[in-house]
């Protein structure tokens, strides 16, 4: 680990993302206001106005245009940044589905927000999960520091020629977007040494006219299937390069050693809660409290959702008696009526030699806070199940008024 001059500043998650893209020297950003994405575009606009960043800011007429502008800018080889939230993400969905197929190494910030109607500003993960199968690399930072780190790494991994798939940095709306903590900020030189300027292998240039995203429908039966396979290979590569990016990041700055998980009292635990994002804020104090009472509880946080750390997860969770999985979105009509993370974990564990009992908690829906009492309720349920060995209700709603 190299000793670098550390500058610590107080930032919210969105400020941290804006600071990261400033230091990454992005060329183009497009904006259309929707909270909580608005905060980040305003922050980047400030950087440009203050002369700290030389980038083109496009004020789009809607999210669809916003993503189109950035998609086309990215085709010219520009390093771009944009993003949205909830229904704004839905409005921009047509270009959003195309970006991975075009193999553009773009980085998008998704300020997670529940879909309207009914109008709500609270966080849910469903906006992100609309895009889970499209070929995006997805991470869920927990703190402003991690939002900063993951944004830097997102460019590093996506811009690798063997990957060339876009990334979504999920910043939970109303939680991480609006809460400030200290962030260690390396110098621009250090960042650009870690993520060198982008040299897109197939950039658009007037000297060499190319057709991008040509209609392959007619040939589709002959080519599209092969293109999908190529993208699948890129996703396999992404896993390898994610691990490498973390290794290099850790060597440089001494953070983010483990690319996939963060353990909290999980080593000798019997029951663990497993989730992503900021839910651990309310869970950690409860873990400490229960540990004082001698109860072997732990907490594991998943940092990256795509590519999914399948084998690693299997190895990690197999040893526990009971695992509770928190989902911050509902997946209506899914097996057991459980959420997306629940389905993914169950599927991962299918061929594990031994499997823990699994319970799904719908927690924090619509931005409802997962506070210590809610976390306590979940741990008590898990401990009871570990004792009886029976899961009577596989899916439970936490924080629901009854």
């Amino acid at each position: 680990m190299r000793e670098a001059k550390k500058i610590t500043r107080i930032m919210s998650g969105t400020d941290a993302v804006a600071e990261a893209v400033k230091l990454l020297d992005i060329d183009v950003i497009a904006g259309y206001p929707i909270r909580p994405y608005t905060v980040v575009q305003n922050a980047v606009a400030n950087h440009i106005a203050n002369g700290e960043l030389d980038a083109d800011f496009f004020w789009a007429d809607c999210e669809h245009s916003q993503f189109e502008i950035c998609k086309h800018a990215a085709l010219t080889g520009a390093r771009v940044f944009t993003g949205s939230s909830g229904v704004g993400w839905a409005q921009g969905f047509e270009p959003i589905v195309i970006i991975p197929t075009l193999r553009l190494p773009m980085v998008l910030m998704l300020g997670n927000r529940a879909f309207d109607d009914p109008g709500t500003f609270g966080v849910e993960w469903n906006d992100a999960f609309t895009s889970r199968d499209l070929g995006y690399l997805m991470c869920w930072p927990e703190s402003p520091q991690e939002a900063f780190d993951f944004t830097i790494m997102a460019y590093k991994i996506s811009e690798n020629k063997e990957v060339y798939l876009p990334s979504i940095v999920n910043i939970e709306g109303g939680v991480l977007t609006h809460v400030a903590r200290p962030v260690e900020v390396p110098s621009k030189d250090e960042i650009l040494e870690y993520v060198p300027p982008l040299e897109l292998a197939f950039r658009m240039h007037p000297d060499k006219p190319m057709t991008y995203g040509a209609q392959v429908d007619s040939e589709g039966l002959m080519v599209l299937c092969e293109m999908r396979r190529q993208a699948a290979e890129a996703m396999e590569n992404a896993k390898k390069f994610t691990e490498e990016a973390h290794k290099e990041f850790y060597q440089k700055w001494g953070r983010q050693e483990d690319p996939y998980f963060e353990d909290y009292y999980a080593g000798d635990a019997e029951v663990v809660l497993f989730t992503m994002g900021t839910m651990g804020w309310g869970i950690r104090p409860v873990v400490r409290e229960l540990r004082k009472e001698g109860k072997k509880v732990g907490y594991i946080r998943l940092k990256r959702f795509r590519p999914f750390p399948d084998e690693e997860l299997k190895e990690k969770l197999a040893k526990y008696k009971t695992v509770g999985i928190c989902d911050r979105e509902v997946s209506l009509g899914a097996p057991k009526g459980g959420g997306v993370i629940f389905q993914e974990v169950r599927s991962s564990l299918y061929d594990a030699p031994s499997r823990p009992l699994l319970v799904n908690f719908y927690a924090g829906l619509g931005g409802r806070e997962v506070d210590p009492p809610a976390a306590k309720e979940m741990y008590e349920t898990l401990l009871k199940i570990a004792k009886t060995g029976k899961v009577e209700e596989p899916v439970r709603w936490i924080g629901l008024r009854r």
């Binding site: 193999r103 060339y164 995203g213 040939e219």
Partner: protein, 319 residues
């Protein structure tokens, strides 16, 4: 097993073509056999004027085709063309290049052509195939009874085609078998096709067209969705639209005032300015839409049927 292929133009003839294959199928079912029909979806049957195909396979069993949704027969017994301008080939959406109506036709197979032109003219344009085949000319206009017009407005061409098949290729269905499914009011057209179609033989043979080979996912360029484009103001040879047209504009330079409206309106950009200020048509890229004809103020542009054009029957137009 007998394979009948109907070549038609998207949207405008989809209904007529489907009706032909459905009735062939129906007659075979009534006669105690079985079958299946396949619309070649990979072409663009849902796009106006683009040539495409629909197949019907009939026989004693479905062996060999059961479980198939994309059917591309190696050989065919009967090929029907609902429009004689498809004799110049058909470039469907499938990037299979320009296909010939007689590709894969069996020895002594039958090519049925709906045409108003005389036999001597059509014979000049009959495509060469690997095998010798017979042809039948069904007398009538190309039936354009598609999405918005009832089938009857096609002057019962579809029924005439069935009559011609029953007479000259009874392996598909016999006269009696066909009669069982022809509605009473259509019998006149059926008899007309049966009796009055012109029959002959094409004896010159050519070589089989090579089918394109496609690369594996590892052979494909790494970012496969990026392909070389044409230069600015150039034209893409892969999208020539050459076989989409039935008619082509002919410009009478004596009437032309050089107003350039045709040049402006042409959606394909296929009108080319000549050094003396007139306009020529780059035929390969013309889709035959006729917008130049409709906008021309002095009526110097006239759309002419492709075969008439080749025969130089220009009806007042001038090349």
């Amino acid at each position: 097993m007998a394979v009948v292929e109907v070549n038609f133009r998207g949207v405008a003839q989809t209904k007529v073509a489907s009706n032909i294959v459905n009735m062939v199928y129906q007659a075979n079912v009534e006669a105690g056999r079985t079958g299946m029909t396949f619309l070649r979806w990979n072409d663009s049957p849902q796009r106006v004027g683009i040539p495409t195909k629909i197949y019907v396979v009939t026989g004693e069993s479905l062996e060999g085709i059961e479980g198939t949704s994309i059917y591309e027969p190696e050989t065919k017994n009967v090929s029907v063309a609902l429009d004689d301008t498809m004799l110049f080939g058909m470039e469907a959406g499938g990037n299979l290049g320009i296909e010939s109506l007689a590709d894969g036709i069996k020895e002594k197979g039958l090519l049925v052509i709906v045409t108003e032109h005389d036999e001597e003219t059509i014979k000049k344009y009959l495509p060469e195939a690997e095998n010798r085949y017979e042809y039948v000319l069904v007398r009538g206009k190309a039936p354009f009874a598609g999405l918005w017009r009832p089938l009857e407005s096609s002057e019962m061409t579809h029924i005439k085609v069935l009559g011609a098949i029953a007479r000259y290729y009874p392996e598909v269905f016999t006269y009696e078998e066909a009669k069982a499914v022809i509605p009473q009011e259509s019998m006149e057209a059926f008899e007309d096709g049966y009796k009055n179609s012109i029959h002959g033989e094409m004896t010159e043979t050519g070589i089989a067209r090579e089918k394109p080979k496609w690369p594996s996912w590892k052979e494909l360029p790494k970012y496969a969705n990026v392909i070389p484009a044409v230069e600015i103001s150039g034209k893409n040879p892969h999208y020539s639209k050459g076989t989409t047209k039935t008619d082509i504009p002919v410009i009478n330079k004596e009437k032309c005032t050089k107003c350039a409206l045709c040049w402006i309106i042409c959606p394909e950009g296929c009108l080319v300015r000549t050094p003396d200020g007139y306009y020529d048509v780059e035929k390969k890229y013309c889709s035959g839409c006729g917008m130049c004809e409709s906008i021309c103020p002095p009526k110097a542009i006239k759309m002419i049927n492709l075969i008439d054009y080749k025969e130089e029957k220009l009806e007042g137009g001038q090349r």
